[in-house]
């Protein structure tokens, strides 16, 4: 598996640390109801198809990336710096 790091170029998966769904970017406000926090922390989609998740280029530039990929075909559609992304 290879991930196109926007800073380092296309690199082997083993340089990256996998975090999980990109929904982790939507951290609720401190005063948000507990249910919202529960959803944020514990509930994840399990898509067959397109997904966005967070990877950390640990053995590279140290950037956190949002990687778009397809869980069925394993195709990696793109990667962007988290800092340049809006979560959705």
């Amino acid at each position: 598996m290879r991930i196109p790091c926007p800073i380092c170029g296309t690199r082997d998966r083993r340089e990256f640390y996998y975090q999980g769904a990109a929904s982790m970017l939507d951290r609720p406000a401190a005063e948000a109801p507990l249910e919202v926090w529960h959803d944020y922390l514990h509930l994840r989609d399990n898509p067959a198809g397109g997904t966005r998740d967070l990877w950390y280029h640990a053995s590279g530039c140290g950037s956190w990336l949002v990687v778009e990929r397809d869980t069925v075909t394993h195709e990696v559609l793109g990667a962007a710096l988290v800092e340049a992304c809006d979560a959705d």
Binding site: R2, L25, A29, A30, S63, V76, E83
Partner: protein
């Protein structure tokens, strides 16, 4: 023995003779031989015993798809089980033994299984060893393991080394037959970076095994000339003896190069094999095709092999299993074998073709019919033919070539879940579905079986790839080659056979396939698992097709309706050694050494692995016979005077920026905004779910500059977490992080004389007095006349203590200097054990307490969690469930009987209450012997522990039978008021 079955010609080097031994018999072969071809030349057909019935077997093939001729190669530590004689290159002095037989290959006691075969049908193990269940482990499994299994292991360390390597290319070509060579030439001349890999040691594929000419050259000469041309191109890497094992995501391939398998011992400094990871833009599969056999009664006798193998042995290796042979075929290709063998002077007794209107020959007899039986206990002597025109005929022969048609070698096309599709014209599966990223298939692997089609499809595919990648490609001058059409009438097995072997490696017969179907194993995947058809080292390369065909026939379906099983990596068996590479023994993972490591070694320190780090555990002195003596001494001497410990391994993270303080306020649950410059504060990090993640200190060196420490174990994960918080959650903050763990050597200097010792090295302009540098102070200083250093007055031991950091390259000099300057105070070096004892005596939490289930409340730090700000984990730490009134609280324990230990991991029970999980009151996390108190102590979690000081509770470990009373006490065993550390 003489090479009585050696023929004329061939691609072997007769000027070089090699002596080798098989089952103790010495024989001679030539350079260029495989073990199998040399054995055949020496008149040996019997090379092994089958897995289940121990039936005598010889080679079925001349390649890596071999199911039968599996031997143990080499001796001593290099002994290698389950090696295919058909691919093992002969070298001088090679030693091989047959497997799965006792006492000898010719007389094998367990061949009695063959007589009992009616009991051993498909599913035998599942049906037989069911009852009683208790018999399985003690009786059935050991018995089956003894009877089955093939080769044996040497049980010695492998003396050879194995490497891993990485390659990048525009185009990987797998298979160097005519299609692969034409493709490599086209792509190479177009300027692509090309890798051409082939599992064989001579490139050319079938060109080396055939008598066709290419233009005016012999096929093998054209291959050799083309390989030489490719080797002269700087952009082409030619890799013989290299098996492409698997096609992985995004154009990545795995391959094993056998660098030295063909040598008795690898060249000095060279690895035996290399595991290559190949990154490709495109790949071309030109892996050719594999011939498939036909199943008939007793079709497994030594001497019966694939017709193409018989031909390859004669043409390439100038060897034949016998001087009188017969051919059994359902297609025109079988007739080629007859013609080639006849041309080599081997007597062709007959060609039996299942088809009407088969080709005729003036050189040998051609019969229409089917073989219904064979004879010859340890090797073929006779076949019985049922003639189409009626009647039977017996034909004497020592070898039989069988051709059931050819299967394109689609294996790699399926590694990303591609599913092959049936092509009626050649009665075989061709690549289909989704191929691995960037893969194209050409030549016989695509079902294009003529040499002409192979050459042109290879060149065309390569030209297209070159164009796709932006290179101008011209098609090379390809020679004229045979272009015979495929003429085949599918024929899978002779009906009414009692034992027609479909899978020779797993002893699966056509009847077993029928039985499986009868017992409702109707999916191909179930068939495979129930009968074991297609399993083991050959993965059914020669047997799957017939199994499917028979299944289709029984089910009344077509073959494509039945479908195929999946092909998965690796393509051929792969040694564990090459997958491990250099990562074995002490090289399994990197070792990190502390700056004082060399010095500690000189002191005779005992080291302990902490992650990848090696840390001094204790420093034994002369006369000390147990570790406890050393540790007790280190603790007592530190508390009495001064001790030094290397704490470099703790994570250090530099935090800088105008929002540095605000950032720390987010990652720590307690507040940092108001921390003054020159001061240090303990910080507790929570996970977002409110559980404690890590703890450490943050020292404020400047308004916009902090140094954060983490535990040794979490240095990497805390840094990653902090980067996550910075980049993902609060990207607007002006803050930058860098890990400086390796940049600074850091020592703890602890004990009543710590200040006095440090004053001897710290430059005089820095005031170390309690007023000038109080508890929790920090600062950038210089030592030893100008060396920059950092000083933190923090204490893990509970003593007056400092941590002093210098650039890592000065770490060794600093420990030596401190130990020398400390002699007047009787300074002691202490290791991680003494460190642990002192922190337990002081009641400080560490990894055992921050164990992924505990909260700030459990740790007795509930009030630390700031309510005034939003920090990671703050919201969820306020969850009701984490704030029950009876929450676990960190407290200390001492044994009621001071001779008792207080073992960590034991559970706490209320006196008089039942001892069971429902009444569990908590558990002990850390324990040690306290040399200061003279008895064992422990800390741990007890329900409402802070309310139960003085209570006697039961400490139990039902597993070990431990059951003693302990008293609940404060976790602060030593200096509870903290007077020492503020001294």
């Amino acid at each position: 023995m003489t090479q009585k079955n050696r023929l004329q010609g061939g691609l072997i080097d007769r000027s070089r003779s090699y002596t080798f031994r098989f089952d103790g018999k010495t024989m001679t072969g030539h350079a260029g031989d495989t073990l199998a071809s040399a054995l055949l030349a020496n008149g040996v057909r019997l090379m092994g015993r089958s897995f289940k019935y121990h039936r005598p077997r010889g080679p079925l093939t001349a390649g890596s798809e071999e199911p039968n001729a599996i031997v143990e190669l080499r001796e001593g530590a290099r002994q290698e089980p389950n090696t295919r004689a058909t691919t093992a290159e002969l070298f001088d002095g090679l030693v091989a033994r047959s497997q799965n037989r006792w006492p000898s290959l010719a007389f094998d006691a367990l061949s009695v299984n063959d007589r009992l075969s009616s009991f051993f049908a498909a599913g035998f193990y599942y049906k037989t060893f069911m009852w009683p269940a208790a018999f399985w482990e003690k009786l059935y499994e050991p018995m089956i393991r003894r009877a089955a299994g093939l080769g044996s292991l040497s049980l010695q360390d492998d003396p050879d080394s194995y490497d891993k390597g990485f390659l990048h290319c525009d185009l990987l070509i797998t298979g160097a037959g005519p299609a692969g060579l034409a493709a490599a030439l086209t792509a190479g001349e177009a300027g692509l970076r090309v890798i051409l890999a082939d599992e064989d040691y001579v490139m050319g594929g079938r060109l080396n095994a055939e008598t066709f000419s290419l233009g005016d050259m012999a096929g093998h000469d054209w291959a050799a000339q083309t390989v030489a041309r490719l080797r002269s191109l700087p952009n082409v890497r030619v890799m013989p003896r290299t098996t492409v094992l698997g096609a992985f995501d995004h154009g990545i391939y795995g391959a094993v190069e056998r660098v030295a398998d063909h040598l008795a011992v690898p060249e000095a400094g060279k690895p035996r094999q290399i595991l290559w990871r190949i990154y490709t833009k495109r790949s071309l599969l030109t892996a050719g095709a594999l011939e498939r056999p036909i199943a008939f009664e007793n079709n497994d006798r030594p001497g019966i092999m694939l017709a193409s193998a018989l031909r390859a042995y004669a043409n390439r290796w100038a060897a034949t299993p016998a001087q009188r042979v017969a051919i059994f075929t359902n297609n025109d290709d079988g007739h080629r074998t007859a013609a080639d063998l006849h041309a080599k002077g081997v007597k062709v007794a007959a060609v039996i073709d299942t088809r009407p209107g088969q080709p005729v020959s003036t050189d040998y007899e051609v019969l229409q019919g089917e073989i219904i039986d064979t004879a010859g206990r340890l090797g073929l002597t006779r076949i019985t033919v049922r003639l189409a025109k009626g009647g039977t005929r017996e034909i004497e022969c020592g070898a039989l070539g069988v051709s059931g048609g050819w299967n394109p070698n689609v294996s790699l096309t399926c590694h990303q879940r591609g599913r092959p599709v049936w092509e009626e014209g050649i009665a075989a599966f061709v690549p289909g579905g989704t191929l691995p990223d960037g893969m194209t298939v050409a030549g016989a692997a695509q079902g294009l079986f003529s040499t002409h089609a192979a050459l042109t499809s290879g060149a065309e595919a390569a030209a297209q790839i070159a164009t796709d990648l932006g290179h101008a490609a011209t098609k090379p001058d390809l020679p004229q080659a045979e272009d015979a059409p495929v003429q085949i009438t599918p024929f899978w097995h002779v009906t009414d056979a009692k034992r027609a072997w479909v899978d020779q490696q797993n002893d699966v017969t056509a009847k077993d396939v029928k039985l499986a179907h009868q017992e409702n194993f109707v999916s191909v995947e179930h068939l495979k698992r129930y009968t074991t058809l297609g399993m083991a080292t050959d993965q059914g390369k020669t047997s799957n097709m017939a199994g499917l065909a028979i299944m289709a026939e029984i089910a009344g379906k077509t073959i494509p309706e039945v479908g195929t099983t999946m092909f998965r990596p690796p393509y051929t068996p792969t040694a564990m050694g090459v997958l491990a590479g250099r990562s074995r023994g002490t090289d399994f993972r990197p070792v990190r050494k502390t700056p004082s490591h060399t010095w500690a070694e000189e002191q005779g320190a005992v080291f302990v692995e902490v992650g990848n780090w090696l840390r001094a555990q204790w420093f034994p002195r002369k006369g000390e016979t147990t570790w406890r003596e050393s540790v007790d001494r280190e603790v007592l001497q530190t508390r009495k005077s001064v001790g030094i410990c290397d704490v470099t391994t703790l994570g250090k993270i530099d935090v800088q920026g105008t929002d540095a303080a605000a950032f720390l306020n987010r990652i720590y649950c307690n507040g940092f905004a108001k921390l003054a410059v020159g001061r240090t504060r303990y910080g507790l990090m929570l996970r977002e779910d409110g559980i404690a993640m890590d703890d450490g200190t943050a020292a404020r060196l400047a308004e916009d500059h902090f140094v954060v420490t983490t535990t040794t174990a979490n240095a990497v994960s805390v840094y990653r977490h902090m980067e996550f918080v910075r980049q993902c959650l609060f990207p607007d903050m002006d803050v930058q992080l860098i890990s400086t763990t390796e940049a600074w050597a850091q020592f703890s200097v602890a004990g009543p004389n710590a200040r006095k010792l440090l004053q001897k090295v710290v430059d005089p302009e820095f005031d170390l007095s309690n007023e000038g540098f109080p508890f929790m102070a920090c600062g950038e200083i210089t030592i030893c006349g100008g060396l920059r250093a950092r000083l933190f007055r923090i204490s893990f031991s509970g003593e007056l203590a400092y941590e002093i950091a210098v650039p890592t390259r000065y770490g060794d000099a600093l420990i030596r200097r401190l130990m020398r300057e400390g002699q007047e105070f009787d300074v002691v070096a202490y290791g991680t054990e003494a460190l642990g004892v002192m922190r337990i005596e002081k009641g400080h939490a560490a990894g055992n307490e921050l164990n992924g289930t505990t909260t700030a409340l459990n740790l007795g730090m509930g009030r630390m969690v700031s309510q005034a700000k939003d920090s990671i984990g703050a919201v969820l730490s306020r969850r009701e469930g984490l704030n029950e009134p009876v929450a676990l609280k960190l407290v200390g324990f001492k044994p009621v009987d001071p001779t008792h230990k207080v073992p960590a991991g034991s559970h706490l029970m209320t006196k008089g209450a039942p001892v069971d999980a429902a009444h569990d009151q908590g558990y002990v996390t850390s324990a040690c012997y306290s040399p200061n108190l003279g008895h064992h102590i422990a800390i741990g979690y007890l329900k409402s522990g802070d309310q139960r000081l003085g209570e006697i509770v039961r400490l139990v470990s039902p597993l070990t039978g431990f059951d003693h009373d302990v008293e609940v006490v404060s976790a602060h065993f030593v200096d509870p008021e903290g007077e020492r550390l503020r001294a």
